[in-house]
Structure formats: C-alpha cells, structure tokens
Amino acid sequence: MSSSSSGIRYGMVIDVDKCTGCGACSVACMSENNIGVLPDETDKVRSITWLRVYQIDNHKPYPDTQIAFFPRPCQHCAGALGHHTPCVSVCPATATDRDEETGIVSQIPTRCIGCRYCVAACPYHARYFNWFDVPWPDGLDRPLSPFVAPRMRGVVEKCTFCFHRYQRAKNKAFVDGSTVAEKDYQTACTEACPSGAITFGDLNNPEHKVHELKKSPYAFRLLERLHTNTAVYYMSTREWVRRQADNYLSHEKLAKVQAGGGH
C-alpha cells in the first residue's frame, strides 16, 4: 500500500459484521458537515449523503437470507501509483486535491465549476452534486457548524474525513509541542457508531488500531481490482460479503483474485 509523502495515511477499517445499519454515522456526518435537508429527500439519486449505508443480502430465500451493511464514505483513493485518485486528476479547475501530508482527498467547493467530471469518474458514487439550493428554514440554520462552510447550488461535495477536525487537532498538537494523537483526530461517524464498527486512524502508524486491523485476513477493500487503492478497509468473516465488495467472474474464486485485503 502506498502512503503520503509524510508517511501518514489516514483511513478507516469498518467491521461489516458489527454494523447494524442504524445510520447514526450518516446522521452524525450530516450534522457535523452542514449537509442540508432537501424538500424531497426521497429522490436518492440527487440527495446528499456523504456517508451512505448500503444494504446488501446474500441473494438466498428465507430462511437462509442474510443481510449486511456497507457504510460508504469517500474511499480516499491513492491509485496504483499512490497519488492518482480517479477524481483528482480529472478536475479541470483543481477544485479537488489529494493532500500529500495525510492522504485525504479534499474538495474546494468555492473553486468547483460544477462540470461533474469527478462525479462521473468515481465508481463509489461518493461524490455529490448540489442539484438544488439547500433551504435552511428558520431554526435549522442555528445548529450549523462554524467549522465547515455550507455549499451552494451547482458544486460538488464529498466526505473529507472531517478534515476540519484534523486541522483542529494539528493546532492543538502545535500548541502542545506534540504530534496529532490517535484520540485527537477522529471523524464524526467513528464517534457516533454505537457498535464500534468504525475505527479511524493512520493506516501506516503501528500505534494506531487501524494499522493492525487492516492486516486481518478478513479485511478487504471495495473494488480492489480497479487499483483505486482506497484508504477505507472493510472486515467481514462472511465470504459472501467479501465477494460483493468486488466484481468476480462466475468461475473465479475469492482468494485467488483478492489483491488488497490483508497486507
């Protein structure tokens, strides 16, 4: 796995077997990042959910039916070369950027021209375009976070791994004369998850829990075969879950083609 120039690469390990699909992570994310509520939230292909929870099943009839949930934030790809995400390189206006210090892929909404080329490039549907002006009815604007600017119509937005929290942690570390500790920088979804399914930290730092978790034989990443080299790992002991994380030809065995997972 590649890393950033500083050697830090923030990422997540999400234990699918622990996820109950409660959606607390999505709600926390929306609240933390000032994601508005549109008049028609049933139009799911146009509503904005930085962290979407997908429900999957094993395609078997009752009573053998099993379900699982894939919470899907932005995957913060690095690509085969370690710095080439599907989205960053295509943006004509440099409105999205992969931070070499942290490996976090960010979005600059005020520079975005709204061409949606990055939306087309992302296979995870992690990028959202503001098709509507977000209404902030009286009262709903009061709990807005001052740390994240609300976005306007016509621009793309996405999960930033709560980058403002990293900036805050970095400021604190600077004042303290230390480095950013694992507990000082945690995303809102990680904190909100009641079952502890989401673990966040520096994938390259042996002192962070994610460093060990990603080495699990049950760890895998979404669409590993496309060489997106994501920073979000998933874990499941169930093979049918792992198989749905990527595309396989019918004769292919899971273990043979899995490229990422446990290294």
Partner: protein, 411 residues
C-alpha cells in the same frame, strides 16, 4: 422587402417570404432553447434529469457529437491549405462555417451544462494540467478563435461590405495568411478531439470507459481523433448536399464531393480497424481482468444493438459504401453513406458518455436509466436551430460556394 443586392454576385436566392418563414421556424426552436436555458440558469440543473449517477447527459452527447462532426473544418482546412488540395477550395468555406457553428454551439451549451457558469473561467485560471478536460477547454476556446479568424474574411466578402476598401483589403490579407491559421487549427483540433476521447479513457475506475494506452494517452485519445476526421468531411459534404437539395442548385462539383467521400472512407477504414481491435481487446482481455464479463455492459435499454448500430450500421456499412467508386459517383447513395458515417460517430459519443455511466461498477449498485427532460431537449434543439440560422444566413448573403455561379448559369 428586396434583399437581392446583398446576395452573392451571380447567384439568386429564394424570396424573402419562404426564407422568412424558415427563419421563423428556426427562431421558434431557438425560443424553446432560450426558455430552457433561462430555467436552467435561474433554477439550476435540477431542471434536467441528470443525477449523481448520470453526471453527464444529452448535452455532453450533443457537445461531443457536434465537435466531432465539426472536425470537417480543421481537416478540410489542413487538406486545402497545408496539403494544397486545390479542389477542396470549393468546399472549404462551408467547412469553416459548419465548424464555427459546431464549436460555438458546443461552448454555449457547455456554459449552461456546468453548475456554476460564472466560474467557467476557473478552468483557465486554476488550470489542472493533468486533466484532459483542461486541455479540451483550452483547445476548443482557442480553436474557436481560429475559426472566427477564418470566418471573418468570408463575412467581409459580402457584396455590400466588400465595397468598403479597407475591409476588402483586410479580408484579402487575411486570406493570404490563412495557411497559418489552418495549421494552428489543425494542431489545436488534433489535441482537443483527442482529449475528448482521453476524458473517457482515463476513467480507470469506470470499466466501460477505461482503456490502456501509450504514455499518458489512452487509446480513446487516438480513436476520437480518427473518428472525428473520418466523420467531419462527411458531415460537411452532407450539409452541402442537403443545401443543394433544398435550394435546387448545384453548389460544388461531384469531383469535390467524391474527394471528400474518399478521404472519409479511407480514414473510416483506418479508424474501424483500430476501433474493432480496441473493442476486442477491451471485451476479451481488459474487462475479464476487472472481474466483469462484456455481457454486463449491455443491459436493456443499452443492449448490444448499440454496438451493432455504432460499428455496423454507422461504421462498416458507410465504410464499404464510401470506398466504392460507384457510390462516390452517385448522389443519393453517397449522401446516405455520409449520413451513416455521421450517425456512427454520434452513436460512439453517445455510448462513451451514457453507457459508461449507466453501468453500475459496485456489485451491489443498481442499474439506472436516464431520459432527458424537455429543457434538455430544448437546449439541444437550440444548437441545431442556431446552426440552421447561421448557415442559412451565410448561404444567402455570403459567397460560400465559389463554383455556384458557374454551375448554375441560368441564374
């Protein structure tokens, strides 16, 4: 109202009433586009049926198609001025006007398609040199300037405007240095036709669109250039032939048309050999490597009929027809062959845009179809109406076809 003193010398045109009615029809179409554009700019892109799955829609298809079809301008310019094919001087004016219409229409459309039109210039100011779209933006804008420079002398050759000595000399001097602009246009066009193809080929996480390639250029880069220069001359000649049918006049000789057809035919053959090789490699090597079977790509309504329509009806068939000397000496079959060639390139742009986005990549994602709204159709129709208006006015008042007075001696 008699406007005959503005007609090109030695020609006649239809009366003002039928021409006015035609213009009225075009203006009505343009009105539809203006209402649509107002709604989109005022209310936002929610007026379309695009969504986070179909980030691109019919506008990008039309954009890419008209830019490919407008390639007749640069390639005919290249053959006329750089390769010195004198015969093509009889059609170069029409090629330039059509190119101008296609490129300006595409840029107008892109201005509406982006979510923040006022920030359109950010692509130049905050240019990301790694993005194929940046290259497209730079090249189509600069090439449009080249096309304007090529179009201006023709406008100045209007019978009345040309009476002004300064403008007459200005037009004449521009003509004498046209080779510089033709060469610049060729350079710019090669790159943006390629970058438009590259835009899809570099989407390495979108298996339908992604292609391998050479250095930083995916194969689609070269395939888009080739398909554009194969279809462009066909489109230019088709428009000239349709104008001939509508006006009842002969505007260029069959020799000129046949030369354009021959160029189109051979380029199409070259393109098809590479495109079919690319498709086979993509379907049987690259796609299985990503864990997918080609059958996944062709789901209703985007079934294998698209492949047959694009490469069979719009590719192999016109190629065979255009390479046949009998067809090139005919009129209507030649026109059909050229229109089929244009259909093929349009289907290619449709497939690369819409089908690329329709294929779900995550195994647990759903397949979603897309149909444009009336506003999207309105703006697409507006580009066509704009083309009709500019070309009709140009034909009526400018000496577009140098052979016209000689070929229609009764006028």
């Amino acid at each position: 109202m008699d406007d005959s003193k503005f007609w090109p010398r030695g020609t006649t045109r239809c009366g003002t009433v039928p021409f006015g009615l035609w213009m009225l029809f075009c203006l009505l179409m343009l009105g539809w586009a203006l209402v649509s554009a107002f709604l989109v700019l005022y209310k936002g892109l929610n007026q379309t049926n695009m969504n986070d799955y179909f980030a691109f829609g019919v506008w990008i298809v039309v954009d890419l198609a008209v830019i490919a079809l407008g390639a007749g301008a640069f390639f005919t310019g290249f053959m006329t001025y750089v390769l010195k094919r004198e015969e093509l001087k009889n059609i170069i004016n029409a090629a330039v006007i059509i190119g101008f219409i296609c490129y300006s229409g595409a840029i107008l459309m892109l201005g509406i398609d982006i979510g923040q039109p006022i920030r359109g210039w950010f692509g130049f100011w905050h240019a990301n040199v790694h993005s194929m779209l940046t290259e497209v933006m730079f090249c189509i804008t600069t090439y449009l300037i080249v096309l304007i420079v090529e179009f201006v002398p023709l406008i100045l050759e209007n019978r009345q405007i040309n009476k002004v000595p300064d403008l007459h000399f200005f037009a004449h001097n521009l003509h004498t240095i046209m080779i510089v602009f033709a060469a610049t246009g060729t350079f710019l066009s090669f790159f943006h036709q390629g970058s438009l193809g590259g835009m899809y080929g570099v989407l390495f996480a979108r298996p339908f669109a992604a292609r391998t390639g050479v250095l930083i250029w995916p194969w689609t880069f070269f395939l888009f250039i080739l398909s554009a220069i194969a279809a462009g001359p066909s489109f230019t000649t088709s428009i000239v032939m349709i104008t001939e049918i509508v006006s009842g006049k002969k505007l260029t000789t069959q020799k000129t048309k046949a030369m354009m057809a021959k160029v189109s035919g051979y380029l199409l053959l070259f393109y098809l050999v590479l495109k079919i090789s690319d498709t086979l490699y993509w379907a049987f090597v690259q796609t299985p490597g990503m864990g997918l079977s080609p059958s996944v790509y062709y789901q209703a309504p985007y079934g294998t009929w698209l492949l047959i329509a694009e490469l069979g009806i719009g590719g192999i068939l016109p190629c065979i027809l255009l390479l046949s000397p009998q067809v090139r000496s005919s009129y209507f079959i030649l026109l059909v062959a050229m229109l089929l060639n244009c259909f093929g390139v349009t289907m290619n742009r449709f497939v690369m845009t819409i089908q690329s986005l329709a294929i779900p990549v995550l195994p647990f994602e759903k397949f979603i179809a897309y149909l444009p709204t009336w506003q999207e159709w309105g703006i697409s129709a507006g580009v066509v109406a704009y083309g009709f208006i500019v070309f009709s006015l140009a034909y009526r008042y400018l000496p577009v076809f140098p052979q016209e007075p000689k070929l229609n001696p009764t006028d």
